[in-house]
């Protein structure tokens, strides 16, 4: 029996197709991977399935019965449940409260808190989740919060779980734990759809795969009949290279950026503790770690947005850590994470965003005025050089695709300041074609002598690009080695707080 069966699904926004005549079917009790780049249409398809969008045309059947899903409420009634990538939780409420909202057990007109806690506890025990139903979300780790997301689905007697990029924020051991849980759920005859762009993990856990590209179904195949290269090619539409060429690493190159005993305390909590790092010319130092272990704060300290409590930052011998953010950005080119929030200004044109952070340079105008001609011509150059697909410097940046926005931002950084580069999540939410391009650009900069500090939650990316890796955990550097001296397992061990030699 098919748990899900979708046929001829089409949906367009403002005249462009997000989904075009898509067929998608999932057998009951299987783990099915929905694979595709960002913008391929996977999220749209899932939102249609979950009742958040209404399709322009198409038919949906759940358990071989035709249904109409007009809202999340309907979807839930049919046994569907969505486990989001970005957890949808309320921090200052408890695990129980987050799980039961919308389906609260009652006693008359009152809320039955005790009964609710009981029910949640039962579920936790049944699936071996190890959580305290009375704990507030703000006190939980990322892995535990994900468990809460899954519990939400199970509490509503979901028989079909849709998981959106579930492994994006997990360490290798946590991924294994998650996959173990998924296999348990499969044994209980639950159907699982994993929406992802991660090829390795798909091959590890899924039974079958459906690939979407540019809004259309490309193929549906069994996992055992395919491999990583083939999948990547189907996803992008052309062969994809996984290797990246680089010049040999020089051990004695001059140190460009030095962090010396950086510490940061906030409200009596130690956010960063005694961090010392060096980045040399011509190398990429990758910071690996689960999100939320101090990376964001470390970036803020390095770029001057936040003042450290102790320690110094020096560039080529000169201490720069006690100046303004403006000053520090003159030394360090910053490619920010969350580009929509931190990288560019919504509503600004490409040329305006191109000078963001660099607008004070004399070349862009003297006496406080802006030299529009110079700015526009430089922006045009950047757009050409960095392959930004846009109608021109006057187009608003927010109307570009994620990948092109990122290319513009990277172009901005690399053209203005490339002695020291801080790249934070440089390829997040960007399609494979652009990822290739961005990785190549970073390598080019490295080969030309830039010192690059890379922050990424994507372990594969860190391993692929970095010469050396430092693992951060709870604000401290657990271990630092040359990339080739780390095994995947060891990385996972240190990312979860292990110390000393791995047994």
């Amino acid at each position: 029996m098919n748990a899900i069966w979708m046929e001829h699904i089409s949906k367009s926004f403002h005249g462009t197709y997000a989904n075009k005549e898509i067929s998608f079917s999932v057998k009951q009790g299987e783990i099915h991977s929905l694979l595709g780049e960002n913008g391929a249409g996977k999220t749209t398809l899932m939102k249609i399935l979950f009742g958040l969008y209404r399709p322009d045309q198409g038919e949906i059947r759940i358990n071989d019965k035709e249904v109409k899903i007009h809202s999340a409420h309907d979807a839930i009634a049919y046994g569907l449940s969505m486990v989001h990538q970005h957890f949808v939780q309320v921090e200052n409420l408890t695990v129980t409260e987050n799980i039961i909202v919308g389906h609260e057990p009652k006693r008359g007109i009152f809320l039955d808190r005790k009964g609710a806690e009981q029910k949640v506890k039962e579920l936790i025990d049944r699936y071996h989740f190890r959580l305290d139903p009375k704990e507030k979300i703000e006190n939980l780790s990322v892995g535990e919060r994900q468990k809460v997301e899954i519990l939400k689905a199970l509490y509503n007697d979901a028989s079909i779980l849709l998981l959106d990029e579930p492994t994006a924020v997990l360490t290798p051991p946590e991924v294994s734990e998650l996959f173990e849980m998924l296999r348990n759920l499969k044994r209980e005859n639950k159907t699982i759809v994993i929406i992802t762009h991660k090829l390795k993990e798909t091959l590890e856990i899924a039974d079958r795969i459906t690939i979407l590209r540019k809004g259309e179904t490309i193929c549906t195949c069994n996992v055992k009949d395919t491999n990583e290269e083939r999948l990547a090619e189907l996803m992008v539409g052309r062969p994809v290279s996984f290797e990246v060429k680089r010049l040999p690493w020089k051990e004695d190159a001059p140190v460009r950026l030095e962090l010396s005993h950086i510490s940061l305390s906030r409200q009596k909590k130690k956010v960063l503790e005694d961090i010392s790092l060096q980045v040399r010319s011509g190398e990429i130092l990758g910071i690996a770690g689960v999100e939320g272990n101090g990376q964001t704060e470390l970036i803020e300290v390095i770029t001057g947005i936040r003042r450290q409590t102790g320690g110094t930052i020096s560039c080529e011998g000169e201490v720069i850590s006690d100046t303004t953010p403006k000053k520090m950005l003159q030394y360090i080119g910053h490619i920010p994470e969350e580009r929509g929030v931190r990288g560019f200004v919504k509503g600004f044109a490409n040329w305006e965003n191109f000078i963001l952070g660099y607008h004070n340079r004399a070349v862009y105008g003297t006496h406080g005025l802006l030299n529009l001609k110079k700015i526009r011509s430089t922006a045009e150059e950047a757009i050409k050089r960095y392959d930004v697909r846009t109608t021109g410097v006057d187009q608003t940046t927010d109307s570009l695709s994620g990948g092109n926005q990122q290319k513009l931002i990277i172009g901005r950084t690399l053209m203005h300041q490339n002695r020291i580069i801080l790249a934070a999540q440089p390829t997040r939410g960007v399609d494979i074609g652009a990822i290739e391009y961005i990785h190549a650009e970073l390598m080019k900069m490295r080969d030309q002598g830039s010192a690059i500090l890379l922050f990424s939650a994507d372990l594969d990316e860190v391993v692929k690009l970095s010469d050396r890796i430092a693992v951060i955990y709870e604000g401290r550097i657990q271990e630092e080695r040359k990339t080739e001296d780390f095994s995947k397992k060891e990385l996972g061990y240190y990312m979860l707080g292990g110390v000393g030699e791995n047994e």
Partner: protein, 306 residues
Amino acid sequence: MGAQILTLLSGMVRVAIPISFAALAGMLSERVGIVNMGLEGIMLIGSFFGVVGSYLSGSAWIGLLFAIAAGAVTGLVLAVLTVGFKCEHVLAGLGINMFASGITVVLLQAIWNSKGKSEMVAGLGKWKLPVISQIPIIKDIIGNISPLFYLLVLCVLLLWMLLYRTPTGLRILVIGENPELAGTMGVNVYLVQYLFVIISGMLAAVGGAYLSIGDIDMFSKDMVSGRGYIALAMVILGNWKPTWVALAGLVYGFAESMQFRLQAVSIPPQLVQMLPYLFTILVLLFARRKSMAPAASGKHYYQKGE
């Protein structure tokens, strides 16, 4: 001296009534994610229509019903603008305030042919409840007080129970922090928002009605004088919790009550009139640093994701 303190305290309670109603209204609205900047206007509408209802029917209680209805309608308008059409909350509220200010004067002219005041109408009067008017100190503070005081106490209790003891209350709490959570769990977020913004309007209108038919038994132009905004500050002071918000109204009532005493002394009246507003600023200065404001308050939520 003792008598003076008692007069001060009873003044405190009387001044607090409209503020507390409006503050509860503001709190409830923000708890479902809508900043109600229009409290000032809704109070004005409540005070006006309270008088109109009393004038037309001869009964102040009918007037109160008129006020509540008018408040509900205005609340609905605010909800339609902010939830339905995604207007900036602050602008929608300010628009309502301006509208109320203008329309009440226009109608004042149309009904009573007056440019500033309405006629005197039947008021709600005061209640002397059997037990309360006998307890020694209490009787001097609330022994002889507008029935709206008791309504206020009832509202505080009901709101507290609603928020912390009912399923709907949990939904409100969640919507105020992260409406998407409620939405993905199948809750009709828009419905909850509409419903409680309307109730917010009703509460604020009652507060406004106190100023007219609960106190001076008539309407005069712009009689709310900033209380709607002061109420918003009291929401902050009360940390968005029903009991504390209502008590914050008392704090303000104390300050304004003091102001009246000072007017008797020979300080220029204008300087004394400044005090409630300076007081409010001071209060905000000392309000808790870690704000417990509902995280999603002021933001727009899109139900279908389109």
